[in-house]
């Protein structure tokens, strides 16, 4: 039982990290950023490339090196996200909302198959892996590496939450999410804030990518697709646009999958997870922490 919970929470924290970017972007420009999962993939490959460039690292130095790589990768994917927004999304901001969906899927294809052309279709294996010893806590077996990763994820998420709730930047983001036109009238540089939102969201996805690479070891050009889908799901469960809700949504999705696998077997896992999700949304149509939208008549 505790093992199931731990499994769910661990996977869920990855979902949450990726979902945050999804949720922020959706909250601010109402875009289903299909390419977001591919930024996670990009992050994993960027980390791989950096590690390859650094060369051999002794295993005692693994953690600090990985943390350094993490930071660099976050910057790289963050910038990639900004570039993506500039090229594929910004010019369409006044177009119908779903037009962005096309460029998002287009960007997703371009990133995936661009990476395939650059790095090949074969999966790559991280030269540096977080292995480490495992320990038993309350009947669940977990590894030190897992704890470290969850720790990093939590720090990143808390940092993000502070940023959004406590800073001017965060207020600007929330203001734009509510009403971009008024925000720009109030002197907020909408473009700059949206760029920064993409930077932060993409950086988090990139961080998740490096962490996945370092922990699981295997990366490939399509690795972002499924997790992108799950992140979107997690973001919605939590109440899209709502940061704590999104984190919670990621964890809930992880738990649903873990328990679904246990109760119904792996082949029915997604049916279980989506089934619960659908039931839940029909009962509570605003997500876990989403605001109830009062009818404006």
């Amino acid at each position: 039982m505790t093992q199931l919970i731990w499994n769910g929470l661990f996977v869920g924290s990855f979902y949450a990290l990726v979902a945050l970017g999804y949720s922020m972007v959706y909250g601010i420009i109402k875009l289903l950023n299909f390419a977001h999962g591919d930024l996670y993939m990009l992050g994993a490959f960027a980390g791989f490339a950096i590690l390859g460039a650094v060369g051999g690292v002794s295993s005692s130095m693994a953690l600090p090196v990985l943390l350094a790589v993490l930071v660099v990768t976050m910057a790289v994917t963050g910038l990639a996200g900004v570039a993506l927004e500039r090229i594929a999304y910004r010019p369409l901001r006044r177009a119908p909302r779903l037009s962005l969906l096309i460029t998002a899927v287009g960007a997703s294809f371009a990133l995936e198959y661009g990476m395939r052309a650059a790095a090949g279709a074969d999966p790559r294996v991280y030269p540096l892996r977080l292995g480490g010893s495992s320990l038993e806590v309350a009947g669940a077996r977990l590894t030190v590496a897992q704890l470290v990763l969850v720790g990093v994820a939590v720090v990143l998420m808390i940092g993000l939450n502070l940023l959004v709730t406590r800073t001017r930047e965060g207020r600007a983001m929330r203001a734009i999410a509510l009403d971009p036109t008024t925000s720009s009238l109030m002197g907020i540089d909408v473009n700059a804030v949206i760029s920064r939102t993409f930077f932060i969201g993409s950086a988090l996805a990139g961080a998740a990518g490096v962490m996945a690479g370092a922990y699981y070891g295997k990366i490939d050009f399509l690795m972002g697709f499924l997790i992108g889908l799950k992140a979107f799901t997690a973001a919605v469960i939590g109440g899209i646009g709502n940061i704590p809700g999104t984190m919670l949504g990621g964890l809930v999705l992880g738990l649903l999958e873990s328990f679904g696998t246990f109760w119904l077997g792996g082949e029915w896992r997604d049916v279980f997870a989506f089934g619960v999700l659908i039931l839940f949304l029909t009962v509570r149509p605003t997500g876990l922490l989403g605001e109830r939208v009062t009818e404006r008549v």
Binding site: A88, L101, I102, Y113, L277, G287
Partner: protein, 381 residues
């Protein structure tokens, strides 16, 4: 229902009443040419009865009313009328019918048949997304339901595929209700994720059940026509009817109700549109279109498997609708053709195929943000 008033309300200013009556008289009589034009092209823009040419003969009172009516609107030119959707539709149909005379290799026929089926899917999804504004990320579920229903019935019961069509319609209507009824009250983002979920549930279920053949699916599904050419023509005819049907629905009472819901649900309700039922109707219509496309798909490939009904397929159909122009029938047809044929044109690029596909999608959208052939609300009087 107490009363549905049906007569022109009393007390309306006299001249208006008269002019309305005159309109009725003239347009029912109609000028010969106008009548002929209507008969020849049944899918005209709005069933608009007031024809400008008939107004010439009207008295001065009618004249002023007409001027007022037209107001600031630019009078339509002959050219713009010539290029109305119906002509584009006929031109498209003609191209589709003549295509095999240019190239009838198995490959070309296969690609064109697939494209035609994809057009039907897009036309169906357009009802849901384009007309009614409901974001559906799991549309391929209905496609799968249709394909599997006909495939299973045809192979297990040895039925000809045509005989499965009534069952497919029933099953897809039920599927539309089952999926739509609990979810259509949701806000659009949630509707999107729930439809995505249903799409995945249908695919995974098909993958796990024995009756659907598990992961390898169903094979040996009988075709609908003897040769690939005959099947291509059959597909084109069916798809053309489906597209025409979707267009006609879009211009009818229910089609307008869909658009009212898309524009403003509250205002639509206030006008007496039962928004929930209307949305469900859109969903069911989309489901039937998708299901029938599924029958064609099963007949075309002779074998179906869960791999054909992934989320990516749903996304591609949605892309066809958006790329062409949501709510615009010619747009959606073009969008579907582009989305299904472009990867085939790029096939020889091998590794760069989908990279270029992605880049082209972005480029096209940047150049035409409203879609290739956007819907226009401007009516032609």
């Amino acid at each position: 229902m107490t009363r549905v008033p049906d007569t022109t309300p009393e007390g309306a200013p006299e001249d208006t009443v008269r002019s309305t009556a005159a309109d009725t008289a003239e347009s029912t009589g109609g000028s010969a040419t106008a009548g002929a034009a209507r008969a020849a092209a049944p899918d005209e823009a709005t069933g608009e009865a007031v024809n400008e040419t008939t107004n010439e003969a009207a008295g001065p009172a009618r004249k002023t009313a007409e001027v007022r009516r037209r107001g600031a609107g630019r009078p339509p030119t002959r050219a713009s009328r010539l290029l109305q959707n119906r002509w584009a539709g006929l031109a498209g149909l003609l191209v589709a019918l003549l295509a095999p005379f240019v190239n009838a290799t198995p490959y070309a026929l296969s690609v064109m048949t697939s494209a035609a089926i994809f057009v039907m899917l897009a036309a169906g999804l357009n009802i849901v997304v384009g007309y009614c504004g409901l974001l559906d990320l799991g549309y391929v579920a209905f496609f799968a339901v249709g394909a599997y229903t006909s495939g299973v019935l045809a192979t297990r019961l040895d039925l000809p595929l045509v005989a499965t069509v009534p069952a497919v319609i029933v099953v897809t209507v039920v599927a539309g209700i089952v999926i739509g009824a609990p979810t259509l009250r949701l806000r659009s983002d949630y509707l999107a994720i729930v439809t995505l979920g249903f799409g995945e549930i249908i695919r995974i279920t098909a993958n796990n059940l024995d009756v659907t053949g598990g992961p390898s699916g169903i094979y040996g599904i009988p075709g609908l026509a003897g040769s690939p050419v005959a099947f291509y023509y059959l597909t084109v005819v069916v798809v053309a009817l489906a597209v025409l049907g979707a267009a006609r629905l879009g211009r009818s009472r229910i089609g307008r109700a869909w658009r009212f819901v898309r524009e403003d649900e509250d205002a639509a309700e206030a006008m007496g549109v039962h928004t929930y039922r209307v949305k469900l109707a859109a969903y069911i219509a989309g489901a039937v279109w998708g299901g029938l496309a599924g029958v064609l798909f099963a007949a075309h490939l002779s074998a179906i498997s869960p791999g054909s009904f992934t989320f990516l397929q749903s996304a591609l159909v949605l892309m066809a609708v958006v790329l062409g122009g949501m709510g615009s029938i010619p747009g959606v047809v073009i969008g579907a053709i582009v989305i299904s044929i472009l990867p085939e044109i790029l096939r020889d690029l091998a590794d760069y195929r989908f990279f270029l596909f992605g880049v082209l999608l972005i480029a096209v959208m940047l150049l035409r943000p409203q879609g290739l052939w956007p819907a226009r609300s401007k009516e032609v009087p």
